[in-house]
């Protein structure tokens, strides 16, 4: 009896400890204004003594929604139009039903922040003037215009598929392109029309003309924070704090904040801090830690190397035995080779999304994905190395009386070592390159500056990720040629 009570007490103690230790986790989508909103919430809650954590540019809408439902994150900034017309589109909700619909998922929504961050279509001002285009309907006069829409917009039910029918658009050149890259396309003249967010600073920077939605296709995209209802018990002050930002951020304010990030090269958190101290005249000015480029590089290197080391080590440990089995049992072997081959063809982004419900966000799902991609080259090369051993050598090993295990260890694996090492090397290089995608689900690494660099169209920042990744691949090559010298005997060189 006593034991049971003690156990229950212990459980509750542990439970409270865990809950108390868990900070409020905020995540944001991969575009600047969403990240600034996340930083505003982060600093605002932090200011009131709530422990928080912000994972900027964690992923796209679908990704954050899944992570929120899975309890991997607690809060993210979203837009009413996106919820109604995309995330929950099947339920065909009216705007006033949104609250109760979210409640059925165990979620809540803050008061509107004051901006309608709508989708709009935009053209370069001089091109629009030349063609005399002011509204979306005007585009129909020029069926040859080239459209470059963000990949999300291409698929969203409030995006291109319905926009096209609303306006009966005849255009045939319509391509999906990353939102941040679309600006580069517009600037270089390879596309004429793109989708914009109303708050994009680039509207000013690239001198874009927003086209009027004259048929009223787009709904309202009121910015709000979506959060888990259980936050009300875990951190009771959060809902009121988020609501206190009601109507504080207009489209104009947001655009100027974005401008400071994209054009002024200030960090999102600096801009958010400046906004909060200006708007709310905070008594304790927010102190932001200065992060130097070298600190960041060190951090990204650490994250990247850990991702690669763990996933590659696990892949080596699993793949070599798999390759041996594949070589020894041909029927099972073709199944194994088939499966690892199919795994390799799964698009990395899709694989990462599948991982979230199972493993959450951050390092572990990225490592599992990298592990899966690293299997094929090692399994294949182990298999090929063993199959390729000349028959006389294999027969000699049998004929002198070696047991199957001794034959494998003393003869077959050493003879296949060169091929196996080549497989490991290929895997390592692929792994180092693919690990940059880890940044898409918050695993950090060299992908982080690359993603941010693409978003801010900052080539320097992109190189801060791309160059170290290339160098790391070279280092790995060097390490492997040393290892090869140890493993591959003089007789085979």
């Amino acid at each position: 009896m006593f034991c049971r009570v003690a156990l229950i007490l212990l459980f509750f103690a542990a439970h409270t400890l865990v809950c108390a230790a868990q900070p409020v986790r905020i995540a944001t989508k991969r575009f600047t204004s969403n990240i600034v909103l996340g930083d505003i919430a982060n600093l605002w809650l932090n200011q009131s003594g709530i422990e928080t954590e912000h994972r900027p540019q964690l992923g796209d809408t679908r990704f954050l929604w899944e992570a929120l439902l899975a309890g991997e994150i607690d809060i993210y900034p979203d837009y009413t139009g996106t919820l109604l017309r995309e995330t929950l589109v099947r339920q065909e909700l009216e705007p006033f039903e949104l609250d109760s619909a979210l409640a059925s998922y165990g979620l809540r929504m803050s008061a509107p922040l004051g901006m309608n961050d709508s989708y709009i279509l935009g053209m370069k001002e001089d091109r629009a003037r030349e063609l005399d285009v002011h509204t979306i309907s005007d585009l129909n006069r020029y069926p040859d215009l080239r459209f470059g829409f963000s990949t999300q917009f291409m698929d969203r039910s409030d995006g291109w598929p319905t926009l096209r029918t609303t306006y009966s658009m005849p255009h045939t050149f319509v391509r999906g392109i990353d939102h941040d890259l679309a600006y580069v396309g517009i600037e270089s003249g390879t596309i004429d029309v793109m989708d914009l967010y109303a708050t994009d600073a680039e509207v000013e920077i690239y001198n874009m003309r927003p086209l009027e939605d004259d048929l009223g296709h787009f709904p309202e995209y009121q910015a709000v924070f979506i959060y888990r209802a259980d936050l009300a018990t875990r951190a009771p002050d959060v809902p009121a704090l988020l609501d206190s930002l009601r109507e504080a951020i207009t489209v104009e304010v947001m655009r100027s904040l974005n401008f400071r990030v994209v054009e002024g090269r200030e960090s999102e958190s600096q801009v958010a801090a400046a906004f909060l101290s200006g708007e709310f005249e905070l008594e304790n000015p927010l102190v932001l830690e200065e992060v130097t480029m070298w600190d960041q590089l060190r951090q990204h290197t650490k994250e990247h190397v850990i991702l690669v080391l763990f996933s590659l080590a696990a892949a080596i440990l699993i793949s070599i035995p798999l390759g041996i089995i594949a070589a020894k049992l041909p029927r099972l072997g073709s199944l194994i080779l088939g499966i690892v081959g199919v795994i390799y063809t799964i698009p990395s982004l899709a694989l990462l999304v599948f991982m979230i419900p199972l493993l959450g966000v951050g390092g572990p799902p990225a490592m599992v994905a990298l592990f899966l991609y690293s299997l094929l080259p090692i399994v294949r090369n182990t298999h090929a190395g063993l199959i390729g051993i000349p028959q006389p050598l294999s027969e000699s090993a049998d004929a002198i009386g070696l047991s199957p295990m001794a034959k494998l260890l003393k003869v077959e694996l050493p003879l296949a070592a060169q091929s196996i090492m080549a497989g490991v090397q290929t895997s390592a290089v692929i792994n180092i390159g693919t690990a940059t995608l880890g940044a898409l689900i918050g695993a950090g690494g060299y992908g982080q500056p690359i993603l941010t660099g693409i978003r801010l169209s900052d080539t320097g920042l992109i190189l801060q990720g791309a160059v170290p990744a290339a160098l790391l691949a070279l280092v790995a090559q060097g390490v492997f040629s040393l290892v090869e010298r140890v493993f591959i005997g003089e007789g085979l060189r």
Partner: protein, 245 residues
């Protein structure tokens, strides 16, 4: 010593070896000879258990060859193949001693045996530390013979052991190999496609043709009392034979 009873081998739909009986006498050297594809290598590999016969049985020293005794019988069998079949990643010495070390022989016993065999096959001692690719064809073959003899087997099987060598080296090694065989008094089966070599080595000769034994006898038998037309033609085709008869 070795009794093959009704052994045959089918590969896919091709009959590589017709049901065949063959008895190998202890302490004698038997040469298997015949044109390529006649089944002589298949027969030898059945004898060493590398190929499992489709029908028939192999009896080694009164024991029927099977899954459970195959390894212990292999330890009593030496096997030499064309070009030696040496493991390229191991030095000559390790190639030779691999099995003895696997059987946990003492270091002393191993090095004594290495010395003994190095002398027997006339291998320069320096060669032992080299890798196969650093050895000449003749040296490789000597190392290979050392490896086959290391555990002092009762039966020595050789599949074209001198087939890949230059004529001069081949001539020298033939002499040495014969003297080794005679000195050791082992049962030897040798596959060759050269009648001169067969008659030089073999106490008896097994002439094979398209998966069957055409005749089994001494050189004199084959020359003077050919069992059929094929034997007659085969013997006629071997030039310069009179030197050996």
């Amino acid at each position: 010593m070795l009794e093959l009873r009704g052994v045959s081998k089918v590969y896919g739909r091709a009959l590589a070896l017709h049901p065949t009986d063959l008895s190998i006498a202890r302490g004698k050297t038997t040469a298997l000879i015949g044109p390529s594809g006649c089944g002589k290598s298949t027969l030898l590999r059945i004898a060493v258990g590398l190929v499992i016969p489709t029908t028939g049985t192999v009896e080694f020293d009164g024991e029927q060859l099977g899954r459970e005794n195959i390894r212990s019988i292999r330890l009593r069998t030496g096997y030499v193949i064309q070009k030696g079949g040496l493991f390229p990643h191991l030095t000559a010495r390790v190639n030779v001693t691999l099995m003895a070390r696997h059987l946990r022989w003492s270091t002393k016993r191993i090095s004594e045996r290495v010395d003994e065999l190095t002398e027997l096959v006339h291998l320069p001692t320096a060669c032992l530390q080299r890798y196969p690719r650093q050895l000449s064809g003749g040296e490789c073959q000597r190392v290979s013979i050392m490896r086959a003899l290391f555990l002092d087997p009762d039966l020595l099987l050789m599949d074209e052991p001198l087939g890949a060598l230059d004529p001069m080296i081949r001539f020298d090694l033939q002499e040495e190999l014969r003297s080794i065989c005679q000195k050791l008094e082992k049962t030897v089966i040798l596959v060759t496609h050269d009648m001169a070599e067969a008659s030089f080595f073999g106490d008896s000769i097994v002439l094979m043709f398209s998966g069957r034994i055409a005749q089994h006898g001494t050189m004199q038998d084959l020359v003077n009392r050919p069992a059929n037309d094929f034997v007659k033609r085969f013997m006629r085709a071997q030039r310069g034979l009179h030197e050996w008869v």
